[in-house]
Amino acid sequence: MQADAYFAIGQSHLVCEDYARAGLAKSGAGFAVVSDGCSSSTDTDVGARLIALATESSIHGAGLPLTHKDLEAVAGQAREGIRGLDMGSSCLDATLLAAHASSGTVNIVVVGDGAVVGRRQGGELEVWESDFGGMPAYLSYLLEPAQLEGYLGEGLARRKVVHSLAGEQISVDERDISPSSFAWWLTLDAAIYDLILLFSDGVSSFCTRSIRGESLAVPLEAVVAEVASLKTTTGRFLTRRCRRFLGRFCTANNWHHADDFSVAGLYLGGGS
């Protein structure tokens, strides 16, 4: 099992509000965490880190947050991190994607926007994209009843999850999601996949230019395929791949990402 994470600031940002971590838990299980701070709230670079660190702390303890109550506890622990600082709890307006691999299964939790990618043993990429249409539900809302009420009252709690495999797509649209359903979970059989990647929604922000100079969106699948084309899988395997992808491939192909980009992953296979 190998775990690695990488994050990079997007062109439209002054501070990178994405954060990613990965490693091995004390139990030996692999974990990966991505958190993306909301751009319209202040200090969410700090909040994204606190959400990720609180999640990691949970993983080291009881394991991946598997219930709504677990996630409330993660949000509460993250809020402890800003106690005494002149920061509102809105700094914790940040998404969360986390994975935990042990005993032949990979459990994944998703709160907000982002994408989960599983590479099957045969090389096929399976993608679950979670999209709240720009107004994702955050764990921090669970800490602030007034903010939660406003979010729900405006009818913003809508989520679309698109599941893609082998050119086929299944889309699930949900409206008026209740707080207890802000998160969704996925359990994957580790025997089927050799690589699990968690992306912030920055993966969907890549664009290029047409010959006429028009901005063209780069499909998420194309970005994911580049990141998943690992050369070696030991140690900082994602850092190496992402640096080369962003530093050379994107430059050569005139791809740009406006939003911050982050990815955390687990390589479940054996040696390289």
Binding site: K231, T234, G235, R240
Partner: protein, 247 residues
């Protein structure tokens, strides 16, 4: 025959040279980037009076580099030459280089195959750098050729050494390379001018002359090499080579 290699090292051939090199299996490497530190040491007969000081300098390089904050991103290869070129160990992470392993590593021999050793070393850095780059690693190199004599036993020419350096700089196998020719006991026998000319003809980045091989000067040598490797490692990612350091 490398004496400090283990089963995780892979042998590579060097085109145009009798000698090859060995290096850590790329699949086993964990860091995102590496600086290849290559030390090529003259062990011809004339080195005999200060053999122990050269060995101490090599150990100082290992000790200092292991203390560097960049230690996890450094690899080292140690090559000796007299009539022939021999590898004490191939490119391997600093974490696998231990000072005690270098006890007695400097064994004095015969003549001076300076060009063969420099050629093999530079080609090895380019070849391994290329292999690492192709596997997404960012790589640069720092090459040190330490000699107290003129070449008198090589099969390759100094122009081939120059071609190898040109290839190292232009092939994009390495983000950058610094190549430092270090003369020891250069106050005697026209060696200083010979090495200055070699530096210019082959295109080494820098030439350092140690006029007299005193204990103090050779002690400084280890520190200079390790600082230069660390500096080059800090430059990795900048697109260019490190600044020259004073001896």
């Amino acid at each position: 025959m490398p004496i400090l290699n283990d089963n995780n090292m892979v042998a590579h051939k060097v085109g145009g040279s009798t000698y090859g090199f060995s290096a850590k299996r790329i699949e086993d490497l964990g860091a995102s980037e590496y600086t290849l530190g290559l030390i090529i040491v003259d062990v011809s007969g004339s080195v005999d009076p200060y053999q122990a000081d050269i060995e101490a300098a090599v150990k100082e390089v290992v000790r200092s580099c292991r203390r560097s904050p960049r230690a996890d991103n450094m690899m080292m290869r140690l090559v000796l030459f007299d009539d022939k070129v021999s590898e004490v160990h191939g490119y391997k992470p600093l974490s696998e280089c231990h000072e005690a392993d270098y006890d007695g590593c400097i064994q004095i021999g015969g003549m001076t195959a300076l060009y063969d050793a420099a050629y093999n070393g530079i080609k090895s850095a380019t070849a391994y750098g290329r292999a690492l780059t192709e596997q997404d690693f960012d790589v640069n190199a720092a090459v040190f050729v330490i000699t107290d004599g003129m070449d008198n036993h090589s099969t390759v020419t100094h122009s081939m050494v120059g071609d190898a350096l040109t290839e190292a700089v232009t092939s994009e196998s390495l983000e950058s390379i610094v190549s430092i020719l270090i003369g020891v006991n250069t106050d005697q026998g026209g060696l200083n001018q010979y090495l200055k000319d070699l530096k210019d003809a082959a295109g080494f980045t820098e030439y350092v002359a140690i006029g007299k091989a005193t204990v103090n000067q050779l002690a400084k040598l280890g520190g200079f090499v390790s600082r230069s490797i660390a500096s080059q490692s800090q430059a990795l990612g900048s697109g260019g080579a490190s600044r020259s350091l004073s001896f």
